[in-house]
């Protein structure tokens, strides 16, 4: 069903005429209009209508009857424009603009077309004049009534919303899957929708566009590592296997919503999962570089053999603790849930039993102790 807007605004028709007078032809989506100077008439064609030798007033009437096509042209040409290609492409993507005919799209937009971008849910609808309006909220709030969410309209508010996670912790990585819920941006213009998304997830639209154009510039691990100077100059020491661990540690969907496209080098892929995100990750980010510096220094150490006595359950508990920390689940373990190995009381008991007064694991053979604990320096 077509949701025909029953009129076109005078300024929309003026813009239409003005474009035809300067360019002779408008061909956009399913609309084709041509001005014939010799006869001073117009040819007008949509999926439903073909008309020719129209006078200006007949053209106006035809345009009014096919107002979906006209307002669609007006929105994309006059409101959005193609000066910023990635902005244009992104907004088209939000309504599958290159896939569905105008009439179908207008029908869908009447109900709202929804797309996900990372943890954002973006819904496009039509305003009365055919301009699009956008609503952005957290995907996990998809069922919430907008009135129960904190309403925003300034794109820059996205900066503050996304600085801390739901537990109030600083988010050093904007594309981490830890965006807090409970907010909504309503009635955004095309430009403001773009700016809001770009504030939540900086540069993701530009990179997604470059990828679609086939011009994405990937800097692989080696490129990035060899470029570093200063305190990060050492990370090119990391062996291939360690880089695999870095990617598996930092770059899966549970840690970052970008889809890792960088590999060890041009010829050598990494096998760690890179994620399924819609926007690409084109080089190791600063967080990965900073963490890699720490791992570079740690990887320089030789392994040693220690002998600790643990019961089978205690060994399992240490494994549980590592999993709980690695999967950020420590806050989910209830205070009195002593059935969880990473429970606080369980960890305290283990420390009492198996660690000395300096906080070090007690080795089975006390005479074979290592004293390298003092090397445990704190670095950023």
């Amino acid at each position: 069903m077509s949701v025909t807007l029953d009129s076109i605004e005078p300024n929309q028709f003026d813009a239409f005429l003005s474009t035809l007078s300067s360019e002779d032809v408008i061909a956009f989506d399913d609309l084709y209009v041509r001005y014939e100077p010799k006869t001073d008439t117009y040819e007008f064609e949509t999926n439903e209508i073909t008309a020719s030798r129209l006078s200006e007033s007949e053209l106006h009437e035809q345009a009014r009857q096919a107002s979906d096509y006209l307002t669609n042209w007006w929105f994309w040409s006059e409101v959005v424009g193609d000066e910023v290609p990635h902005l244009f492409a992104f907004l088209r993507f939000l309504e599958d603009g290159d896939e569905h005919p105008v009439v179908d799209r207008y029908a869908a937009l009447a109900d709202g077309m929804t797309k996900a971008w990372g943890q954002l849910q973006i819904t496009t609808t039509l305003a009365q004049d055919g301009a699009r309006q956008y609503e952005i909220r957290h995907v996990d709030d998809h069922d919430s009534s907008a009135s129960t969410l904190d309403a925003y309209s300034d794109p820059l508010s996205a900066r503050d919303i996304s600085t801390f996670d739901g537990k109030g912790r600083y988010r050093p990585l904007r594309t981490a899957p830890s965006l807090p819920t409970g907010w909504v941006f309503t009635e955004l213009s095309a430009r403001d929708a773009y700016e809001t998304v770009d504030t939540f997830y900086p540069a993701t639209i530009a990179n997604w566009y470059r990828e679609h154009q086939g011009t994405i510039d990937i800097d692989h691990w080696r490129d990035t590592a060899e470029r570093q100077t200063g305190i990060y100059g050492i990370i090119d020491e990391l062996a291939y296997d360690a880089v695999e661990h870095v990617a598996a540690t930092c770059c899966t969907d549970s840690q970052c919503l970008k889809r890792r496209e960088w590999q060890y080098d041009e010829e050598t892929p990494l096998h760690a999962e890179g994620g399924d995100g819609i926007f690409p990750c084109r080089e190791p980010c600063s967080l990965v570089v900073a963490a890699a510096r720490k791992w570079t220094t740690l990887e320089r150490e030789e392994t040693e053999t220690y002998t600790f006595e643990l019961t089978s359950s205690e060994k399992e508990q240490i494994e549980d603790i590592i999993h709980a920390v690695a999967d950020d689940e420590t806050d989910d373990i209830r205070e009195a849930d002593v059935y969880e190995g990473a429970n606080r009381y369980r960890a305290r008991f283990l420390r009492e039993k198996r660690m000395d007064e300096h906080g070090h694991l007690i080795e089975a053979d006390a005479g074979h102790g290592h004293s390298d604990h003092e090397q445990d320096t704190h670095e950023e």
């Binding site: 000066e83 910023v84 820059l156 900066r159 600085t163 801390f164 600083y170 050093p172 990585l173 904007r174 594309t175 770009d198 900086p202 540069a203 530009a206 990179n207 470059r210 510039d217 800097d219 470029r227 100077t229 200063g230 084109r282 080089e283 980010c285 600063s286 967080l287 900073a290 950023e380």
Partner: protein, 292 residues
């Protein structure tokens, strides 16, 4: 179309690090001096690598929100922004006089005006003084007051100390404060002994840092004896050895910093109309700095 890109360090650990960058960008946006204002960071996003591809203008002014010329402004930023063929000699600087260079950014194949850091611009002196006004709540502060400009020192960067001395000299030449002293965290004269260097009872202490963080919120207050434990906060003014110390925190958080960013861009040829006057006036009513 004219674009301003403010580039800064940022932090993986501390959200306060980028807060002044965002605040000053917002100030400049609000007065409409540029068609767009973007921010890019070494440690946050958009990264220095990717910020330029979000920029739409054809006249692009890149202003580093850094205190001194050195490793970041001369090596890291040009490399990460992919300023093609950059060489520090293009600034023809003595360590304090970097102005701007016009250079092609390979990432977008457009020319950018790469400006010197805000910290060495002469307008920065006014921000230091404004910071003193803010922390004392007195727009005429000067009589009976000493003024200490605090820097990191030369351990990491020789030019860092040059910037401190430069602004201390300029404040001295204003003949507004009774005494002016440059002090350092890791070399003589040390900020730890601040009261030894002043006769005046009242001393305003302003760190020449871009953002508040570990040094300005923890080290310096404890080193000066404002508090035994920074987590407990300190008084403004705090009483130390018979002096009243008005500790201002990082100068970079002062609203007038937006003026220096604009000055840098204007010096590089940006057309900013009466933005400087507006910013100077608009940021004057900023709340006095709070220690916490």
């Amino acid at each position: 179309m004219q674009s301003l890109v403010i580039v800064a360090h940022g932090s993986h650990l501390n959200p306060d690090s980028s807060a002044p960058t965002h605040d000053h960008a917002d100030t400049i946006r609000s007065i409409g001096a540029f068609d767009e204002v973007r921010t890019g960071f070494w440690k946050e996003e958009p990264s220095l690598r990717e910020v330029l591809r979000t920029v739409e203008g054809d006249e692009i002014y890149v202003v580093p929100l850094f205190i001194s010329e050195g490793y970041f402004t001369e090596q890291v930023i040009p490399r990460e922004l992919r300023l093609d063929g950059w060489d520090v000699s293009q600034w023809d600087s003595d360590g304090l006089s970097a102005d701007h260079a016009v250079i092609t950014a390979e990432d977008i194949d457009r020319t950018v005006h790469y400006c010197g850091p805000v910290g060495t611009h002469e307008a920065m002196t006014d921000v230091l003084v404004r910071r003193a006004e803010s922390v004392t709540g007195d727009s005429d502060v000067g009589d009976g007051f000493g003024f200490a400009v605090v820097g990191h020192g030369t351990e990491r960067n020789e030019n860092s100390a040059k910037a401190i001395e430069y602004h201390a000299d300029r404040i001295r030449q204003m003949d507004r404060f009774e005494e002016v002293q440059a002090l350092y965290m890791d070399e003589e004269p040390e900020v730890d002994d601040v009261t030894d260097f002043f006769e005046t009872e009242d001393i305003v202490v302003v760190p020449l840092f871009i953002a508040d963080g570990f040094h300005t919120q923890e080290d310096i207050p404890e080193d000066m004896g404002l508090t035994d434990d920074y987590t407990k906060g300190y008084d403004i003014p705090a009483h130390v050895d018979g002096h009243r110390i008005w500790y201002a925190g990082a100068v970079g958080t002062e609203g007038l910093m937006a003026d220096v960013i604009l000055e840098r861009a204007a010096d590089a040829g940006a057309s900013i109309g009466d933005a400087l006057e507006i910013v100077r006036e608009q940021t004057r009513s900023a709340e006095p700095a709070m220690g916490d």
